[in-house]
């Protein structure tokens, strides 16, 4: 960097900034996360886009410097001389300590705000008790007094999901909703008070999705799926009226994993 002229410095800065702008424009316009099917996922997507722009900036700066250095300072064949004995530059070292610190602290603050945002409790919500076991899901609706193996929800209503597992760890995820949380055995027992087993999500696009298990739970893990249906409140009420009442004995016998293709063809129709 000793012999780098101001002109070179500005040229390289220009290249890095141009790469940042072009890269960001392309990356931000790609729909990385699929359908945005809940208010929470919108917040996450905005956060992703901001992170992509900052990441593209960092990546462009590093790659511009790296490629320039490799191109400019390649030794000619047979050149056995040494480079310039430059041991460091305090000003530069302070810059590349402080600037990344500011970037990551900024991202941390923004993430905290976004987290509070997606976990905010709405005034009105609907409770669903989700129970997982190898390799099946059960959804109980205490307000409606019904139970089902499909998750049906009225569009635009915040769901208050209470999660528990009967055997091993499972994890609740609907990719289109962006929200995920493990189901922990014992979270419904007296000793499970410290387990944070409530997660909120507000689906806002009608459609048919999949509840996907994302915590390894045994041989049937890959096919442990259930339908998640977001429908109009009227359709939901009609559906709920049709379902089985919650039995006194709260333990269901889950179906085995079953045939993979069947599960997917059935549920990934969105």
């Amino acid at each position: 960097m000793k012999d780098m002229s101001r002109a070179t410095f500005f040229k390289l800065t220009g290249v890095a900034l141009a790469l940042t702008v072009i890269g960001s424009l392309i990356m931000v316009n790609i729909n990385w996360m699929g359908l945005d099917g809940s208010t929470e996922k919108g917040t996450i997507e905005t956060l992703l886009n901001v992170t992509i722009v900052l990441s593209t900036f960092v990546f462009s700066v590093v790659m511009t410097m790296l490629v320039y250095a490799v191109w400019k300072y390649r030794a000619k064949p047979g050149d056995e001389s040494d480079g310039e004995p430059i041991h460091g530059n305090t000003k530069l070292e302070i810059i590349w300590t402080v600037v990344p610190t500011l970037i990551v602290v900024g991202l941390g603050v923004y993430s905290t705000i976004a987290l509070n945002d997606i976990e905010a409790e709405a005034a009105d919500s609907m409770e669903v008790d989700v129970t997982a076991q190898q390799f099946a899901w059960r959804f109980d609706y205490p307000e409606q007094g019904v139970t089902s193996n499909e998750l049906h929800v009225p569009v635009g209503t915040q769901l208050d999901l209470h999660l528990t597992a009967l055997d091993v760890l499972h994890s609740f995820w609907v990719p289109e909703w962006g929200i995920k949380r493990d189901l922990v055995p014992g979270s419904d027992l007296p000793g499970g008070d410290d387990i944070d087993n409530t997660v909120r999500v507000t689906p806002d696009v009608e459609g048919r999705y999949s509840v996907v298990c994302t915590e390894l739970c045994g041989w049937g893990h890959a096919t442990m799926r259930a339908a998640a249906v977001v429908e109009s409140p009227d359709e939901f009420d009609a559906w709920a009226a049709d379902q089985e009442k919650i039995p006194k004995d709260n333990v269901s016998t889950g179906a085995a994993g079953g045939n993979g293709a069947g599960v997917y063809n059935d549920q990934v129709t969105k």
Binding site: W32, A75, D167, S171, P185, H221
Partner: protein, 646 residues
């Protein structure tokens, strides 16, 4: 025959293995018979008549090999066999199968053994990718699939990346600091020989009823506490690998602190030494936790304890806390030695002193401190105590700062350098800079809680971890192997084949792991034997590139094997490097130095006229006077002139 079985060595070791296993088996059978229990208990979490021999067998092997002979004689007050150093050095390939206390022999033993484990782990990964090439189940049933990715990870982490770095450092580090050997040579040999035991246990699990361990390398309870017998083999294998790792780390710490050559103060240590000092601190602090938690799982399985049984008052989530309290630092255990290697390679092959040497060393220590305060970022969606998330996110994001300092300093080193891009180890270091930056960026994304909620346990995580462990650790391992190959073997490798290997590996790596980001963000969970049809195309692409990646490694093996035997002689210092290991012959003499060198300056004083790092035996005195300290910019020694380069 009897004499062969009496002397330490492989025949006695195998006899020891059999006798040890028989002893364990007999003990269980006898005790159970006396207690009036069913003699063979075959619940899937039980099988004491197999678990106990799985411990006593390997210990019998180590006893037979002679790992404890000297200590036992000494402890018993018997005359110890005078150490005539006959077991130093290796005269033929057979010597590598003996209990050898020479750090250079142990280094090669480590590298060759771990590389075999690397190939096995790679084959498992290719089977996994073959199954994933298309949606649906084609060649592997879901149970075996879970076993394959679990053993793939266990091999790569516990039997390749962590120990191969220990092996490289074993060979190079004592030479670098001017020491005749490691501080505890017998412990060093024992550390190595515990590794094949771990490998035997991991592999042996495939023979267990119910198949190999299949709860992932993370082995989360309660899936692991209820899993078939193979899981117990994992619990025990981790004990051997972990004990090996801790003993080696202690050895490095004592060696680095007490055995540096005169004049080598901390600010004159090569960054590889700094990196292994930092790594060893992490290992000593963290590895006992994984050993402990695997014992807790084993006790839950076999002894009826209830650490992780929710129904019996156990705490399921505490497994994850203890596990990640080791396994996050383990990420840096697998990366810091690579940072050290890259520093050596870049400085040497760019003919340039490291930019900001002191900040580079301090950044390593910064990572060590922060590494212990970030573990719960693996648990943002686990249902753990919610308040813990934000502090752990902040520490996680901050770890990008010392890491960034290192990246910028390496690139700073390249400016105004004479960069030898034709060199394979340099290519791998440059490749590392690109792939590791990608892995670092996705790491920051994963550290941000709202993003992690969406991508946790998806292929995005698989992409990230392979960019840091393959693009990071494995690239630096290759850089190190190429860089020190001439030192270890005394011969040069083929640079052209090295370049083919590099480009094959880079292309294979990017094609395999880059699309994983996309399918992960879009909704493909990890650890699945089967997936939705929408991800089929990308998975086929990834599988094809993974086979290119695998094939590229054949070039490496060919290059190494043929060059070791037929390569042109390397001479002591083919790279014209400054650090001490290059000032002795290749391979170095059995006891490294005729006389301990004196260190008189920094390790990377390229381009400083008259600068020396160390004065070797028989060289002129007085060069010392004119050599500058590393931090003094450009105060190159005028006058003197006696310290001209070799």
């Amino acid at each position: 025959m009897v004499a062969t079985l009496k002397a330490p060595g492989q025949p006695r070791a195998i006899l020891g293995l059999i006798l040890g296993a028989a002893f364990g088996f007999g003990l269980v059978v006898t005790l159970r018979a006396i207690s009036g229990l069913e003699i063979f208990q075959t619940e899937q979490t039980g099988y004491p008549h197999i678990i106990v021999p799985a411990v006593t067998g390997p210990i019998g092997y180590l006893l037979g090999l002679g790992a404890f002979d000297y200590w036992f004689r000494w402890a018993a007050g018997a005359p110890t066999i005078p150490d005539d150093h006959s077991q130093h050095g290796a005269k033929s390939w057979k010597d590598y199968f003996k209990f050898n206390t020479d750090h250079k022999v142990i280094g090669i033993q480590y590298i060759c053994t771990t590389f075999i484990f690397f190939l096995m782990g790679g084959l498992m990964a290719m089977l996994v990718r073959a199954e994933l090439a298309q949606p649906g189940t084609q060649i592997i049933d879901p149970g075996l699939y879970n076993g394959l990715f679990s053993t793939h990870a266990a091999f790569m982490i516990f039997l390749f990346v962590i120990p191969v770095f220990a092996g490289l450092a074993n060979y190079v580090l004592p030479l670098m600091i001017g020491a005749p050997d490691m501080a505890f040579p017998r412990l060093n040999a024992l550390s190595f020989w515990m590794l094949p035991m771990a490998g035997l246990l991991f592999l042996g699990s495939y023979l267990a009823p119910g198949g190999t361990f299949d709860a992932g390398w993370t082995g989360y309870a309660p899936l692991s506490t209820g899993a078939p017998l193979g899981q117990s083999f994992f619990n025990l294998g981790v004990q051997f690998a972990g004990a090996s790792s801790v003993a080696t780390a202690l050895n490095f710490l004592v060696t680095i602190v007490t055995m540096r050559a005169p004049g080598m103060n901390f600010w004159r240590m090569p960054l590889l030494v700094w990196a292994n000092l930092s790594t060893s601190l992490l290992v000593v602090g963290a590895t006992p936790f994984v050993a402990g938690v695997q014992f807790m799982v084993l006790f839950d399985r076999a002894l009826g304890t209830n650490f992780f049984q929710a129904a019996a008052g156990g705490d399921v989530i505490s497994y994850q806390h203890i596990f990640w309290f080791y396994s996050h630092p383990a990420v840096y255990i697998m990366m810091l030695p690579g940072f050290g290697i890259v520093s050596e390679v870049i400085s040497t092959h760019a003919r340039k002193t490291i930019f900001g040497y002191r900040l580079m060393a301090l950044a390593l220590l910064g990572i060590v401190v922060l590494a212990f305060a970030v573990w719960a970022h693996h648990m943002f969606v686990s249902g753990m105590f919610a308040w813990l998330r934000v502090p752990m996110m902040i520490t996680t994001l901050l770890i990008a700062v010392p890491t960034g300092i290192k990246i910028f300093s390496w690139i700073g080193t390249l400016f105004d350098s004479k960069l030898h891009i034709e060199n394979t180890s340099m290519l791998f270091s440059l490749g590392f800079l690109v792939t590791f930056v990608v892995g670092g960026i996705s790491g920051v994304m994963l550290g941000m809680i709202p993003l992690d909620i969406h991508v946790s346990d998806t292929y995005f995580v698989v992409a990230h971890l392979h960019f840091v462990l393959f693009g990071g650790s494995v690239f630096t391992i290759f850089a190190g192997l190429y860089h020190w190959f001439p030192k270890m073997t005394g011969r040069m490798y083929d640079e052209r084949l090295g370049r083919y290997h590099f480009y094959g590996t880079l292309v294979g790596m990017l094609g395999t792991f880059l699309p994983m980001h996309w399918v992960g963000l879009e909704g493909m969970p990890r650890r699945v034997a089967d997936y939705a049809a929408q991800f089929g195309d990308w998975n086929l692409v990834m599988s094809i590139f993974s086979f290119i990646l695998g094939a590229a490694q054949l070039i490496f093996i060919y290059n190494m094997v043929v060059s070791w035997r037929y390569g042109p002689k390397a001479g002591p210092n083919p790279w014209r490097a400054k650090t001490i290991e290059w000032q002795v012959s290749s391979p170095p003499p059995v006891f490294n130095f005729d006389e301990i060198p004196r260190v008189v300056g920094g390790p990377y004083e390229f381009g400083v006229p008259g600068a020396r790092h160390a004065i070797m035996h028989g060289e002129e005195e007085g060069a010392e006077v004119t050599t500058p300290e590393p931090a003094v910019v450009g105060a190159a020694g005028g006058g003197g002139g006696s310290g001209g380069s070799k």
